[in-house]
Subunit: 409 residues, 2 copies
Amino acid sequence: MKSDIDRLMAERNLDALIVFGGETPNAHRAYLTGGHEANATLFKKRGGPVAMLTNSMEVENARLSGLPVTTYNELNLHELWAQYAEDPDMLTVKSYERYFAHFGIVAGRVGVYGFGNLGGSWETLKLLSQHFPALEFVGESQDTLFDAAVATKDADEIRLLKDVGRRTNLVMQSVWDFIAAHRAEGNRVVKLNGEPLTIGDVKRFARGKLMEYDLEDPEGMIFAQGRDGGFPHSHGEDSEPLETGRAIVFDFFPRDMRTGYYHDMTRTWSIGHATPEVQKAYDEVMTAFNAAIAGIKVGERTKKLQEAVLDVLEEFGHPTSRSEPGTTVGYTHSLGHGLGLAIHERPSITHMRDKDAIEIGAVFTIEPGVYYPDRGFGIRIEDTVTIAEDGTVENLTPMHKELILPLRG
Amino acid sequence: MKSDIDRLMAERNLDALIVFGGETPNAHRAYLTGGHEANATLFKKRGGPVAMLTNSMEVENARLSGLPVTTYNELNLHELWAQYAEDPDMLTVKSYERYFAHFGIVAGRVGVYGFGNLGGSWETLKLLSQHFPALEFVGESQDTLFDAAVATKDADEIRLLKDVGRRTNLVMQSVWDFIAAHRAEGNRVVKLNGEPLTIGDVKRFARGKLMEYDLEDPEGMIFAQGRDGGFPHSHGEDSEPLETGRAIVFDFFPRDMRTGYYHDMTRTWSIGHATPEVQKAYDEVMTAFNAAIAGIKVGERTKKLQEAVLDVLEEFGHPTSRSEPGTTVGYTHSLGHGLGLAIHERPSITHMRDKDAIEIGAVFTIEPGVYYPDRGFGIRIEDTVTIAEDGTVENLTPMHKELILPLRG
């Protein structure tokens, strides 16, 4: 959590850190500023506050973070813009000279974080490394300081995540009710006027409901029917009519519009009835899901959960990424992931990774599934859970897990 | 436009380019894949196609781009994952060895593009530079290949941008009509039940309307009243009730949900009536706006437009970023920017920049404004325009520019 950052800097022998970035979304910056990014660059010395540097147009937004804010104007940057208008490299060097002086970064190891333009930052960091030999710029490709920090959430974050979960579940129940209010003609689900109900109609309804609950859908929900559901990341075709007796994978991962926190849940539905093949696979995935939930224990490696699921699904005869590495059918993916201000955070839950443990304050998904596009279906079930102070598992995804969605229209 | 990319590579002496990236939005990747990013890394040799490398879960999405797709499985990457599980640096090197061999990148200058994790790519690029001495990795901090490419749009893109503009204008007119349907009690705008109409209510209405038109609002609209409107980037307070006689800056920049193209427009409204001070400033900004539009001429530097606006507003006595560099009141920002799949693209329209010209196929905003937070208001007016094949200016933002929004409720 945020209070771990100075410790995590010490572990990495970092004297300071900088979060770079431009206008594009920046999970590191969002995390440190409580969502008030204000297009700022962040500077932090170990033991000191996170300081924001931004332009005067963003200063009101930046101050909402509660962090100290400096503007380019206050550092008289416009002098440099005029002086070095023809020499962008020197403008960069002279600008950072002022930033480093202002924020007291004079020597040592400086952690490089943030999200943005990769080619630009590659050249900038080469330039800074050359002109400021007392500073060593250190990036992290994986298991970064931020990965470690966000792997556990503090009480404020848990409260926000629970609230996003509560609202997401209400919206998904509304989508169930919306579909259920229709009727079938043959195997087609139709509206009152006899026109087919399409995946686009359902997504539009879901987005409208999200909005009522101050949620947004920046990554685009998955609502994939039949063969499409057999590809874990296929989002479904808007123009496709809903049909009875086909498995629909509905993976829903909205974000709170104000705080930026995500929820993540998946249900698999079959309208009216399910084929025996789908029902059997569904029951097997549920068995795997329950095995994973039952296996959650503070202090254990997360990979134990994936191993439990692999054991169950292999026992049922499904190919898996352990029994057949690289398989595109059966159980092909990892079991889950942490989430917070990003949709994929630590901990990771895969048998390929031994580093992550189940910790108090972790918030993560459990999402086993099986995929058979050539047999025309995929199945996935996903809840988000957290580990309470006393080590118990709290499920943030209360919605029922009925497979068969009966039509009442 | 996209057909310029080989020429732009030749100008930069690039033998190949790579667009790196992870899960975060990536304007370079979106541009080259027509929005079907599929979490891919892109490889392109000069004169060759853009090739996508992704995982098997994303392959269906990737193929929608029409580009050639390779999966990690096809390169037998899982062998490496097992072999180098304990040595992530060597895993990176060996993986790229396979990518470079597969895509035929063996020597020369390789342009580095894309958006993503800056610290990770800094370390990855240092590693690749060290292990592949025949390759020189070259980033661009500004005036990049992509900046140059997107500065003009081809006919398909113009068509999409016009369509987003048309729908955005319909939504903004609906917001005007929605507010107009209310009534005032004293200086408060109220609903039928007498409760105040808040900025949050208006934004919620606008988001609902956007959805009906398959538009989304990923960056969050600006609807800023009174003093808040005096800070160009303040987004407005949801809880604040609308009041008559106060300037409201409504800056609206939604994105098409399917294609990812943006529109950008701003209107300033004053409900019921306007104070003489606001009306005067509004008329002055309109004069500046019209001077800019009248000055648009193919082949001219864009800065001429900003200079025309600075001349007008300084003549009216407003401080500007030319007359008082660093000012936070008066006219404080640049005149406009290109837009497409990103909200800020080339050309830039500022007196600080001499490089950009007005070109056929350019799509850009014209958005003069004046800001006086201490006097309780800001004014901005913004349309998006394009330069047609015959050099004429086409305005993509047809909505009227009435300042006073009368209540009819």
